[in-house]
């Protein structure tokens, strides 16, 4: 029996899962609709009974590697445990069955959750202006750059159009700059993996709008000269933006405001443990200085006599980047996480995340080359330099890891390290899991020497082997019914 059929291949005319009860009003009068309004052919959706539907998705779920079944050290993504209670919270009718246009007096609980999350983020970052509106980190970056652009226009500094971005940054940084009508300029990294201050100084000037920095960096290193960098950027009249993708490492240890950051985004699906969901939903709140707060998107949660309300009337605001106030369900999960941990727990998160990362670094550095081999933060980058002679690439190590029961690390990022393998264990993993991963990585290093073909052939335990991704572009099949 072929268990790999698609929904459309299982479909049988006349079947369905969703059936409504008897209509308690007269049937719809279709003739009342405007001429031409009715659909001529029904949508070609699959037709399945409930049992087949259940089997289909249960089988699909088993073809995923997830945090729930495996170690998932995907660098820069902070794949920590997602507490089950937080999922249950979102199913409470008082949070689930509420409409965003209800009178504010009838949704004080939802507004309180939002206010408390915003207050906690302000406490963590030291930046008082918080918006929970952006749908994900990249939208948070865009929001902040739009805020910066508006700020410079409002203050008569229209010429500030350059966004300086280190070469190790996420691709979303320059992509967001383009949409915000600003121009991305790359800043080099020095030999220590940190920002090259000479290069930065050379590129700062009267046209500087924003310096975007990921701190800790994508190499897992804290920018030790961050205070000096901020001073330089501020002296040139620019704003410092921090990509908060790696905030997990410094929770309760250091506040970005204290090292000169003016604006930053936070990925709630990373640091605050809301699940990654196969690629979202996330939430990308941004925190800014008091000076920039008035430009934040609409609506804002405001506190007035008589309670909280959503204020859509925000004259200086850059506008909206999506419908409604924010991804409330994601904010609620983050709220649960913050409440479980408290101030002390958040600090423990950072400490244990950094400990786990350094433990892996020292255990792996004998077998794999670690280009910046010093105390790291929540993650570190190694590569396959030691395996180059055997023709082993980062992708081979990654695929072999799948066969050994782990999700691979991030590979080929950051771009500044060739054959990069970026490892982020997170604080929620136990020492014995890390030890098992180390043992398998050391096994792979041995296999690279003696059985390199085993690595090239991997993975062999998965539903499919390495896929022909070139063919997917050359001969695109993007839709089942369109090609049959």
């Amino acid at each position: 029996m072929n268990k790999d059929l698609l929904l459309y291949e299982k479909s049988q005319p006349g079947r369905r899962t969703l059936r409504l009860g008897r209509l308690d009003v007269p049937a719809a009068d279709l003739s009342a609709l405007p001429a031409g309004a009715l659909r001529r052919t029904p949508p070609d959706l699959p037709e399945l009974g409930e049992l087949e539907l259940v089997r289909h998705y249960v089988r699909l779920s088993k073809k995923n590697v997830s945090i729930a079944d495996s170690f998932y050290p995907l660098g820069s993504c902070t794949m920590k445990y997602n507490p089950v209670l937080n999922e249950a919270a979102t199913a409470i009718p008082g949070f689930n069955a509420i409409h965003p246009l209800q009178d504010s007096g009838r949704v004080q609980g939802a507004l309180a959750v939002m206010k408390r999350v915003a207050d906690a983020l302000a406490a963590v970052t030291g930046l008082p202006g918080v918006t929970l509106h952006p749908a994900a980190g990249a939208q948070g970056e865009l929001t902040a750059l739009l805020v910066a652009h508006r700020h410079f226009v409002e203050t008569g500094q229209k010429q500030r159009k350059m966004v300086l971005i280190p070469d190790s940054a996420h691709g979303t940084n320059p992509a967001s700059a383009s949409i915000a009508g600003l121009q991305a300029v790359e800043v080099a990294s020095g030999p220590d993996g940190l920002v090259d201050l000479d290069d930065l100084a050379a590129k700062l000037g009267e046209d500087t709008a924003v310096f975007m920095i990921t701190n800790p960096s994508t190499l897992g290193l804290f920018e030790t000269k961050i205070a000096k960098i901020s001073e330089m950027v501020h002296a040139a009249g620019g704003l410092v933006y921090m990509d908060g993708a790696n905030l997990n490492a410094i929770l309760g240890v250091a506040r970005p405001a204290d090292f000169g950051v003016d604006m930053m985004h936070i990925n709630l699906h990373k640091t605050f443990s809301t699940p990654h969901g196969g690629g979202g939903p996330g939430a990308g709140p941004i925190c800014v200085t008091q000076e920039l707060e008035r430009y934040l998107p609409s609506p804002r949660v405001v506190e007035e006599e008589g309670g909280l309300r959503l204020d859509y009337d925000t004259p200086y605001s850059i506008g909206m980047l999506r419908g409604w106030a924010g991804n409330f369900g994601v904010l609620l999960r983050a709220y649960c996480y913050i409440r479980r941990l408290g101030a002390e727990g958040l600090l423990r998160v950072a400490q244990n995340a950094v400990l786990n990362a350094n433990y892996l670094r020292v255990k792996l550095r004998g077998a794999f080359h670690v280009p910046y081999d010093r105390m790291c933060m929540h993650e570190f980058v190694c590569n396959t330099k030691n395996q180059r002679e055997q023709g082993i690439h980062a992708v081979d190590v990654a695929k072999r890891l799948i066969d050994l029961g782990h999700h691979p690390m991030t590979i080929y990022f950051p771009l500044v390290v060739s054959e990069a393998m970026m490892i982020e264990p997170t604080e929620t993993e136990a020492k014995e899991t890390l030890d098992a991963f180390v043992a398998d990585m050391l096994l792979i290093a041995e296999e690279a020497k003696h059985e390199p073909e085993k690595l090239h052939a991997a993975p062999v335990t998965t539903p499919v082997g390495r896929l022909d991704e070139g063919r997917a572009v050359k001969d695109p099949v993007l839709c089942y019914t369109c090609s049959h």
Binding site: P34, L38, G323
Partner: protein, 452 residues
């Protein structure tokens, strides 16, 4: 400490392996003067049961829509089979990430491929992506794509009937692009009046049907007008309505976008939802977002992988078609399961129930003296503007006192409709009993207004 498994003994052994004495020593890279002294001003942690009690209390401060709610205006209360919760809630889906390693992510990738197929089928388009954040941002991205496809044209015509959040999102995304947004007004019949707005400078026309006033637009005529002007036509859809109403693809639109909330997603105070994005195959290289394609492995077995990645920010950086990365995959999966559970017959049944309830409510409310339907009974799918003899806010207070949630005071978004206009929405979950209760609640207002 919650969620941290390592014991003090584990930590001691690991610190020794790293070669430091204390946890603080691990942070040597952070200059001492930059470290935060003392605890953050955040309350102490709670146990799971303590948190649960707190959540119940917070939730009790919210009134739910379950006792009857006539709010819509872009978010609608629909039924979803509970199998949707069970399947989407599986930890293997919830706790995985973007399928960068396709061999380890065939579950998510297959589900996206099927999702794309179902969205293309629903909208009548040739290709769909694996979801956007929501309907509003999808519309903004569609305009950006249209501008890229029609370089040199710098005018975007957006109907006033498009949801105000979507219009505002489009304006925000376009602020620094040099594109000009022009609003097409609504006529006395509630439909968009394009007049002479479409010209050879127009890159995109954005319309919505049913529009924010609940009125079904003449999509075929709009798409044809855009085509004649050489502009890209973008239709904002309400997916449930497509069970009954003509698809944008069949009407001749170039792009269909929409919010997926009605496909099995709770209203949850506005999110997370997901966005649909579908278009013609010719536009695929300009499309934003993740796209999943079918291919084969070394043994010829069918498999799925992310494709056309050179459009995306992690490769193309500043020149990417969009900055989108993490989007709303898990909610899109909900939408996929819902569409598969409904099938064409289920979707049509839901749409017909929505229409039937709306037509029933229209007849009953129109019969009340002093109340009238602004655009007539035949213009709507599941939502209409009711002109009341008293301010809509007063009507809503009466509905609230009756233990239900009233409609939306649409004058807040469309001041030209006046303070007495109330936008009411009906779905398959609206019962006759609720509609009758609404009518009973409104009747005395009519009488009082007549006496006054």
């Amino acid at each position: 400490m919650p969620f941290i498994q390592n014991t003090d003994a584990d930590r001691a052994a690991m610190l020794a392996a790293v070669g430091v004495k204390t946890l603080e020593d691990l942070f040597e890279g952070i200059p001492a003067e930059l470290r935060h002294k003392g605890p953050l001003p955040i309350d102490a942690g709670l146990s799971e049961d303590e948190l649960w009690s707190e959540l119940q209390e917070l939730a009790s401060w919210n009134s739910t829509t379950t006792a009857g709610c006539f709010l819509g205006a872009g978010m609608y209360r629909h039924w979803w089979p509970r199998v949707v919760d069970a399947l989407q809630g599986r930890q293997e889906f919830v706790t995985a990430y973007t399928p960068y390693q396709p061999e380890a992510s065939q579950g998510t990738l297959t589900a996206f491929f099927e999702f794309q197929t179902m969205v293309a089928a629903l909208t009548g388009m040739e290709v769909a992506n694996a979801s956007m954040y929501d309907g509003s941002s999808a519309a903004a991205e569609a305009v950006v794509m249209a501008a890229n496809l029609t370089r040199g044209r710098d005018k975007v015509v957006v109907s006033r009937g498009v949801h105000p959040h979507t219009r505002r999102t489009i304006t925000t995304y376009l602020e620094w692009t040099g594109l000009e947004v022009v609003e097409a007004p609504l006529g006395a019949d509630g439909r968009t009046e394009l007049g002479g707005l479409l010209d050879d400078k127009t890159c995109a026309l954005v319309v919505q049907s049913p529009n924010t006033l609940g009125v079904i637009e003449d999509g075929a005529a709009q798409a044809a007008a855009a085509k004649q002007a050489g502009a890209i036509s973008v239709a904002c859809v309400y997916p449930i309505a497509l069970g009954l109403l003509e698809s944008p693809g069949a009407q001749g639109f170039d792009v269909a976008v929409g919010d997926g909330q009605s496909l099995g997603v709770p209203t949850a105070f506005g999110g997370p939802s997901f966005g649909l994005f579908a278009t013609r195959l010719a536009n695929v290289r300009r499309m934003p977002g993740r796209i999943v394609g079918q291919t084969v492995d070394g043994q010829g077995r069918r498999g799925f992988a992310l494709t056309f990645q050179t459009r995306e920010q992690h490769i193309r950086r500043a020149k990417a078609t969009s900055n989108i990365c993490t989007n709303n995959a898990l909610i899109a999966l909900r939408g996929a399961i819902y569409m598969a559970a409904a099938g064409p017959a289920g979707l049509r049944e839901v749409a017909e129930h929505c229409l039937a309830k709306t037509q029933y409510a229209a007849r009953e409310l129109e019969a009340l003296p002093g109340f009238s339907l602004r655009y007539g009974a035949g213009a709507s799918f599941n939502e209409f503007v009711l002109d009341c003899p008293v301010p809509a806010a007063q009507v809503n207070r009466a509905v609230d006192a009756a233990g239900m949630i009233g409609g939306f005071e649409i004058g807040r978004w469309y001041p030209e409709l006046g303070p007495n206009a109330l936008l009411l929405a009906f779905t398959e979950l609206t019962t006759r009993r609720e509609i009758d209760a609404l009518v009973r609640t409104l009747a005395p207002l009519a009488a009082a207004a007549t006496v006054a």
